[in-house]
Amino acid sequence: MKYKLFFAVGLYYLNLFLCAPLAVAQGPITSPTTAEIFKRFSEHVVKIEVVEGASGAKAAVGSGFFANERGQIVTNYHVVSKLIHSPDRYRIELSTQSGQIGQATVLAVDVIYDLAVLRVNRPSKGFLALETTPVAQGTRLYSLGHPQDLGLTIVEGTYNGLLQHSLYPKVHFTGSLNPGMSGGPTVTHAGKVVGINVATEGEQISFLVPAARALTLLERTAKTETPSTANFLAEVGRQIQANQARYLDGMFSKATPSLSLGPYALPTKPADFFHCWADALRRKDLPYVAITHDCSTDDYIFVSSEQSSGIVRFYHQLLSTDELNPARFFTLYSSQVQAGNVALFGNEEEVTPFRCLTRNLKTQTGKLKGVLCARQYVKLPGLYDAMFRGATLGARNVGLVTTLNLSGVSFENIQTLTQRYAEAIQWRR
């Protein structure tokens, strides 16, 4: 799902203009409590600017907050990802309401949960403590940050628990988070941080990284003032590598439920964190029917603005006809086997071009055309994107195209999952 904070800029400006007269008509809408909370905690929130070295212009803006007595700052990994990828081209500059506080260095990152800890040379003037005891659903929360670089803003909302069926726990915050607020704190009225602003799906549906995860990262950096590694990019690669096991182990094994589609039994919803959708294309003017079944993980790991990782998606497309002769039906079928062969993201600096392997495969129950395409991450060694596509053979008026997409996984995992997936495509005879 595409709920990145950074990419909805135009839309939100529009919203601002539309909402402005409303706010005036209603008169003062902030309750005294909110004003008080803002006054008490605003000095602990920082604006984070990622500045391009050569031009001195800012390349990204986000938020963060002082999170311990040592003055360490918690923010999102995606706020500072440009610096992680090109440390010689960017620097991080911090400021609070009362002015500039100087340059920051990265102490640690957690790419899986989208967190980073920064350090700045300035004595601590207080901080916002991370709250790990659970809060009741419906609790009023206050989110702070710099939406669209418009100045420090406070947003009210409610706590709606942890997301169900999510691979990575996320707090569901009902309130309007906007680009630029990423990395800022969401606090209770007592100033306890419940989560770190990370993403939005629009219409008040927003997500926070649970405070506990940030606490774990802070514990790692609490005793040291030096960065945990000289090469954070390599650390990002290591974290993604280490994370694979938690969601790929056992996927498409015998325990994976199966679904009947035409004469085939196919894998579906291998784990709770998958969402599956199905639809059919039946139109009177088309001499064929296409039924699709699409499953994917909602969670992804932000690696850079051009690259995300950790997504597993697979989809089945059953084509059948009562009308087309085999030669014509196979024209349609061939074109579908070939369709969707372009990756949406990726540039030369981050990935190699794709290489593909095509063979006719014999499984326990039938034969299929198998295509495996993969590309390697250039900066994160040992990680790959891959697509396996299978197309069942033998029938004359029915065919199944099935595709498995993996991103940011090891080659061994590509091989294991491809093997399991290919064997999970079965003929019901």
């Binding site: 990828h85 090109s86 440390p87 010689d88 000289a230 003017d285 088309l286 001499p287 064929y288 009308e323 087309l324 085999p326 030669a327 014509r328 039906f329 196979f330 024209t331 086997v337 062969n341 372009v342 990756a343 949406l344 993201f345 540039n347 030369e348 600096e349 190699t352 071009p353 794709f354 290489r355 593909c356 392997l357 095509t358 063979r359 006719n360 495969l361 014999k362 039938g366 034969k367 055309k369 198998g370 295509v371 395409c373 993969a374 590309r375 390697q376 991450y377 250039v378 900066k379 060694p381 596509r389 197309a391 053979l393 033998g394 065919g399 590509i414 491809t418 093997q419 290919a422 064997e423």
Partner: protein, 332 residues
């Protein structure tokens, strides 16, 4: 008997431009009009060379102290005299001359193969070939559509391509009319039609091979070779009815045209190869064939084969390394 014969004036390619019969010796050659053989060349002296018989009765060419001399062939060293045998060439000024005696041996008479080719000129064959192409184009339009189609649409779709065929044959006919003053329209239609049929067959064969044997490396090279052969035959056939070239030179011309076209396609392919792209290049051709006939490997073997994919990617990633080294420089 005196070795009488001809003195021939040759052009740059060695073709005879002019023949002068020699009925007696000596023969005078020069620019002046009192010579037996008048050479219209400003580099030739009025009295340039004389050809006489020596004591043995052989013809000898002798330089008459000319300005530019006598040479035993193009740009050879000057000589004052030169013994002539039947077939000897010699240069005066910028003109190449050749002596041939009456008894010069001749090549055997060529058999005219016109009749054997006349079947190509049959209007029935041309009509058959043209209709075959039209039928194939219609079939392609029909099999290539996955929506409901009407006969009218199936027939109308290939019309433009079909018209191109006649335009193509017409242009070759025009060329033949200009060069040979002959009208070979049916021949050109037949040749072009069979070339198109050849391309259809090649394409169908390539698709089936691609489907059945995806493991054959560089199958596309065989396809390119096949296309090259068809192109060469096409050019060879058209040139037969549009030029005076001999079979051997026609063959070379046809091969060069075909090679040039293939080279161009290779070059443009190579030029675009360096570009990065997010496209997964594979051919997903599937055919309606009973499973039993499809050669297949086990999934385990497939996974083993993917090891090669991994190596290829490793090589590609290594190539991209310099960019990474730059990015990874220390922070200052």
């Amino acid at each position: 008997m005196a070795p009488l014969g001809y003195i021939e004036v040759l052009d740059g390619k060695g073709n005879v431009v002019e023949r002068n019969r020699v009925d007696s010796f000596p023969v005078h050659i020069g620019r002046a009009y009192n010579n037996e053989i008048v050479v219209d060349d400003p580099y030739v002296c009025p009295a340039h060379v004389i050809i006489e018989l020596d004591d043995r009765g052989s013809p000898i060419a002798r330089d008459l102290n000319s300005v530019n001399g006598l040479r035993p062939g193009i740009n050879r060293k000057r000589v004052t005299m030169l013994e002539l045998k039947s077939g000897s060439e010699f240069q005066v000024g910028h003109t190449l001359l050749r002596y041939r005696s009456f008894d010069h041996p001749l090549a055997p008479t060529l058999v005219d193969r016109e009749n054997r080719l006349s079947v190509l000129g049959s209007p029935y064959l041309a009509a058959f070939a043209g209709l075959l192409v039209f039928a194939l184009l219609c079939l392609e339009a029909f099999l290539g559509s996955v929506e409901r189609v009407t006969v009218a649409r199936i027939i109308s779709e290939p019309l433009a391509t079909f018209a191109m065929l006649f335009l193509w044959a017409g242009l070759w006919t025009l060329a033949g009319r200009v060069i040979l003053s002959r009208f070979y329209f049916f021949e050109h239609v037949t040749i072009a039609s069979f070339a198109i049929v050849g391309f259809f067959a090649l394409n169908a064969l390539a698709e089936w091979l691609e489907f059945l044997f995806p493991f054959i490396p560089a199958l596309w090279l065989a396809g390119v070779f096949g296309a090259g052969v068809i192109l060469a035959v096409l050019a060879f056939g058209h040139l037969r009815f549009a030029s005076m070239m001999r079979p051997r030179s026609r063959m070379w011309a046809a091969l060069s045209v075909s090679a040039a076209l293939i080279a161009i396609s290779f070059i443009s392919d190579y030029a675009s190869r360096g570009k990065f792209s997010n496209v997964m290049e594979f051919t997903g051709i599937v055919k309606p064939l009973d499973e039993a006939w499809v050669p297949a490997i086990s999934v385990d073997r497939f996974i083993d084969n993917s090891q090669k994919l991994r190596k290829d990617l490793e090589t590609l990633a290594q190539k991209s390394k310099p960019a990474e080294a730059e990015v990874g420089r220390t922070v200052d």
